[in-house]
Point group: C2
Chain length 225, copies 2
DNA sequence: ACAATAGTGTCTCTTAGACAATATCGA
DNA sequence: TCGATATTGTCTAAGAGACACTATTGT
């Protein structure tokens, strides 16, 4: 009665060498078996409560990661995108610290810089591009990038993360003012980053209340006009 | 093989009496036959190129409207939202001038203020709420509201539209500066709004290049902090 | 002339960015 | 002490909002 292929795909992103990377997996089934593609698969009505749950399951099964942040990106559909026929994929995106991927220890996961993705099966290159655009845009007015950091981090580190995503330097004073205003991080009392040959930096952590929700601002981080 | 119900739903909105309204239709099939709900229905793989085309078809068939602006909102899914079983609905939203709905002449279309929607079948109330939030948010930094105006309009009229959507007054000077900066409207040479007992206002129209694309700004229209 | 709203000039206040001064570590 | 980077203070410039003034219509 219903001849539509229903899938979810997840764009798992992280920061490595100060550049945004996307996680790809070699496909083990046709079509496009053997080619790297986004982790994804069929929605299983029997076991998935909704598409969000399906995406979380896919991420867990294929990469071993349980991401705190997993947001719906958009739905991609059409007759041409899958050689098997009319298909529909609900795409999600997740941001995690690099260590989390290492620790999950799924060696078949490969990380590719988002600007080096090139051709991918289906319309996955298109989905990745949409995800990157969403992350860039959302990072400019929210706390989204903290999900790329570990449990604790210094403000200069966090600023470097923002700069890596946005692709341009941010004024230090403005950045600190903005973080203050967003009120999303708090200093870890007494914890400093030591070992460097210079003044130690205060360690911060994400406030509990924002562990799965973003902190938003109506004024972008850097407005060049 | 695939037991997922695939549908699209459209949140068609307009401005009436300076308030945002949503178009609802009485359902003529079960489930919830007879109740007002969003225009929507099954995706037809045979005739719809993708979900966007399906949404446009739905809007055309059920309301007689061909909206210049039709954007994907999000996908709503789950086991519980439809009594028939696990379902997935790709939701779209459209903004049109009130006259366009009148002129289409589908009398079964009823307009309800978005804050008076109350209970609706499926999770349609939820979808409407998401659409309203999206429109409010997007209106604060883009030319989205011009789709609610007719072919030509005065700047005070347009400002009133923005104020109706955002729910708060906007500074007149700032608004005009912003419209200038967005560069999305152009004066219609020599055309003025006459007949009122005061100085006539210049008529404007949307620039050709923005007829189906938004003009964006990185600084919100009104920032209260 | 008067009421009413359109359109513009300008002042002030807020906020972003530049710059620089101070602080604190390891070597 | 020196080199390096963290953190903070302050000045300047750009943009937003307040206010008021001028313009143009119908009555």
């Amino acid at each position: 009665m219903n001849d539509i292929i229903c899938t979810v795909d997840v764009v798992l992103m992280t920061l490595k060498d100060s550049r945004l990377h996307v996680a790809l997996l070699k496909r083990d089934h046709a079509p496009f078996a053997g080619l790297p593609a986004l982790p994804g698969g069929y929605i299983r009505a029997a076991e998935d409560g909704d598409t969000q749950a399906a995406a979380a399951r896919m991420l867990r099964e294929k990469t071993g990661i349980d991401s705190p942040y997993l947001e719906q990106l958009a739905t991609f559909s059409g007759r041409e995108r899958d050689p098997r026929g009319w298909s529909l994929s609900v795409a999600y995106y997740a941001l995690v610290p690099h260590e989390l991927i290492e620790r999950a220890g799924h060696p078949e996961v490969t990380l590719l810089p988002v600007d080096k993705v090139g051709e991918l099966p289906f319309d996955h290159a298109h989905i990745v591009a949409a995800a990157v655009q969403r992350v860039r845009n959302k990072s400019s007015y929210s706390s989204l990038p903290v999900y790329l950091c570990g449990d604790s981090f210094t403000l200069p580190q966090l600023q470097a993360v923002y700069e890596a995503i946005l692709g341009e330097p941010i004024n230090k004073v403005s950045f600190r003012r903005k973080m203050e205003e967003l009120d999303m991080v708090e200093p870890v009392a007494g914890a400093m980053e030591t070992g460097k040959a210079h003044r130690p930096a205060q360690l911060y952590r994400l406030r509990e209340c924002y562990s799965r929700n973003l902190s938003l601002t109506d004024r972008a981080l850097n407005a060049k006009g």
